[in-house]
């Protein structure tokens, strides 16, 4: 076994463990089998588990996501892979009108133990139809749990608890993270999929990020530390339901917060978090809540334009400094 484990390998290992552990689990999606997954996540699983359980689906997002819901109702524990969040829009009806609504609409009779994984985010010059961050839309919907693993350990440890959740869980894997490596840690550590996690302790302000924004937010915290500013970094991890307790506890201590979110600013998850901090911690704040979000454009192809459209470490540092500048004398 190699000394390091990549995010991609961690997801694969989590899939392998789940498939081995529970015969009801199967993986279904476009090119998950023979091709090995469009991001090579499921490479080798077809040979290990066969075509019934590593099920290649045609380009029918609405159809196979709905089939995943039906199979979950029929007693299975399906894991559906959608190539990217942009393509998930073709399945939005089944996810929102059926998966999320069924338990309540049926008066509690029917639940949908379905896991849907998909890649999200920009950074690879794939332009406007493969690069968006729409997880906040899903985080808007009651009845769904929305997860965003930002570390190799979370990529490995979130899948099993997601499968144990009796309700639909969406897992957003940022495409930029698949090559992220961490020292291999042996067995998977179970992840509490109800809680955010403090990735770096600090006293001067709280930086809140998730998924692909976590590494650059941690980099911003390091840059700030060189100037003597100790930023606390919270990895949201769970986009719905939000772990307001962890956020509020931190912000009440640091009295300042910047939210880093790759999504478009208007109506974003960052907007929701900001509103909650205002509602519940207004008198603890020493400065208005700051936000560093994606520019409000369809993500462009050219490298320099794509970079300009995304939250970058210097912008996070600048936003933090401007908040600290507002510190009362």
């Amino acid at each position: 076994m190699s000394a390091v484990l990549s995010y991609r390998e961690a997801v694969r290992q989590a899939l392998r463990e789940a498939l081995a552990r529970d015969p009801r689990v199967f993986l279904m999606g476009e090119d998950v089998g023979r091709y090995g997954g469009s991001y090579a996540v499921s490479l080798g699983l077809l040979e290990e588990f066969g075509p019934e359980r590593i099920r290649d689906a045609p380009l029918s997002e609405l159809g196979f996501v709905g089939a995943g819901i039906g199979a979950a109702l029929g007693g299975m524990r399906p894991i559906v892979e959608i190539m990217t969040v942009n393509f998930s829009l073709l399945a939005l009806d089944q996810l929102v009108n059926t998966a999320a609504a069924l338990r309540h609409m049926s008066g509690g009779q029917l639940n949908v133990p379905l896991v849907v994984r998909m890649a999200t985010g920009a950074g690879r010059q794939l332009a406007a139809q493969h690069s968006h961050s729409l997880e906040g839309w899903y985080a808007h919907v009651p009845g769904l749990r929305v997860l965003a693993p930002a570390t190799v350990a979370d990529a490995r440890g979130m899948l099993w608890p997601a499968l144990e959740d009796p309700d639909p869980v969406l897992i957003f894997e940022h495409a930029q993270l698949y090559n992220l490596e961490e020292p291999a840690g042996g067995a998977a550590q179970p992840v509490d999929i109800r809680r955010a996690r403090i990735r770096r302790a600090g006293r001067d302000l709280t930086l809140i990020a998730y998924g692909g924004m976590l590494p650059r937010t941690l980099a911003a915290a390091e840059a700030l530390a060189r100037d003597g500013v100790e930023a606390e970094v919270i990895d949201l991890r769970v986009l719905r339901p939000l772990d307001a307790t962890t956020l509020l506890e931190s912000v009440r201590r640091t009295r300042r917060a910047v939210i880093v979110d790759e999504e478009w600013r208007s109506g974003s998850l960052a907007a929701e978090i900001s509103a909650r901090l205002m509602e519940q911690a207004f008198y603890d704040l020493d400065a208005p809540v700051g936000r560093v979000c994606g520019a409000e454009v369809p993500v462009p192809y050219a490298r320099h334009l794509e970079d300009a459209a995304l939250p970058q470490t210097p912008a996070i540092v600048a936003a933090a400094r401007s908040l600290l500048g507002a510190r009362p004398a």
Binding site: E52, P58, G74, G107, G108
Partner: protein, 332 residues
């Protein structure tokens, strides 16, 4: 397609009378719903099945408790025929906590886990992928069950229909696709929405065996469903049945019916499934006026009890509004 009324009813008396009973239950239930809607007891959208009773009555008569049913927003008939108590359906219409979905679903979203009744779906075509998945679970678990999926001909214009047909055929899944072709998708006639109006040809293009059935003839529906379901259950993959039927009432309670001629409706009413079938049975001395009167009385009593139950039931406490959005006990 079979021709109504020419061939003898190939059923024993008990089976035949059971079909009359089922169709009559649905007819009277729907008539009561229309009245109660007028009286303000039922709100929201209400889609009546009057005229189409032969389809649910005939098809569900030959499916077993192990099978799954997926239906549409015009599903009171299917729910009744599946065995959900009329009282629980009526209470659902009333929005009462004793309703089959505690009053959360209403007319368009009836569910019943106990009878494997998976809705009630107010998204046209929304039930088709669900049916494919239920069948996929049976396929993976090697269970000889059938998932019967009802949808209107309007759903055939949706991508969900085509994706679902392809998936079911590709994976040879045990789905019985039951298209209720009542000729109008709300107000849009089939000819005005489909370049190819031969619906069986569409199914056949996915290599799904397809058959058009006289949906006004409850016996034809019953026979066709029995043989198609047997083929599905035997592992032969999906089957497609097109039931040619007609709704006698408006699309919903808000429909002024500007899109079709009264003469067309009157013409179809002559083929009404209830009276044509009872006439055939009478001609064969399998059924009498006295039998009909007895069934009417039985149905009236059931309906009266259902309405009484709905009237006297309580409402779900508002404190429970957020109950069952997700599990009460999330995972550790």
């Amino acid at each position: 397609m079979s021709l109504t009324g020419i061939y003898p009813v190939p059923l024993g008396r008990d089976d035949a009378v059971a079909l009359v009973h089922q169709m009559l239950r649905i007819r009277r239930f729907e008539e009561a719903c229309a009245e109660l809607y007028g009286a303000g007891k039922i709100r929201g959208f209400l889609h009546l099945y009057i005229g189409e009773e032969a389809v649910a009555s005939g098809a569900l008569a030959v499916l077993g408790p192990e099978d799954a049913i997926v239906a549409t927003y015009r599903e009171h008939g299917h729910a009744l025929a599946r065995g959900i108590a009329a009282s629980r359906i009526m209470a659902e219409m009333y929005g009462k906590v004793t309703g089959c979905c505690r009053g959360r679903g209403g007319s368009m979203h009836l569910f019943d886990a106990a009878t494997r009744f998976y809705g009630g779906n107010a998204i046209v075509g929304g039930g088709l992928p669900l049916a494919v998945g239920l069948a996929l679970a049976d396929h993976l678990e090697r269970r000889a069950r059938v998932t019967a999926c009802f949808f209107g001909e309007g759903a055939i214009a949706e991508g969900a229909f085509h994706e679902s047909m392809n998936l079911a055929a590709l994976w040879r899944l045990p789905v019985l696709f039951c298209c209720e072709n009542n000729r109008y998708a709300m107000g849009t006639a089939l000819e005005r929405s489909e370049s190819q109006t031969d619906l069986c040809a569409k199914a056949a293009s996915y290599r799904v065996p397809a058959q058009a059935v006289d949906g006004m003839d409850v016996v034809a529906v019953r026979q066709a469903t029995a043989s198609a379901a047997a083929a599905v259950r035997a592992g032969g993959g999906p089957q497609f049945l097109e039931f040619r039927t007609f709704r006698f009432r408006a699309h919903s309670m808000f429909d002024p019916e500007r899109y079709r001629a009264k003469a067309e409706v009157e013409e179809w009413k002559k083929r009404g499934p209830l009276h044509t079938f009872t006439e055939r049975l009478k001609a064969q001395q399998l059924f009498s006026e006295a039998d009909f009167a007895r069934l009417e009385a039985e149905v009236a009593a059931e309906l009266q009890a259902a309405i009484g139950f709905a009237e006297s039931s309580g409402l779900e406490p508002v404190e429970d509004l957020l109950r069952d959005v997700v599990a009460a006990e999330p995972p550790p």
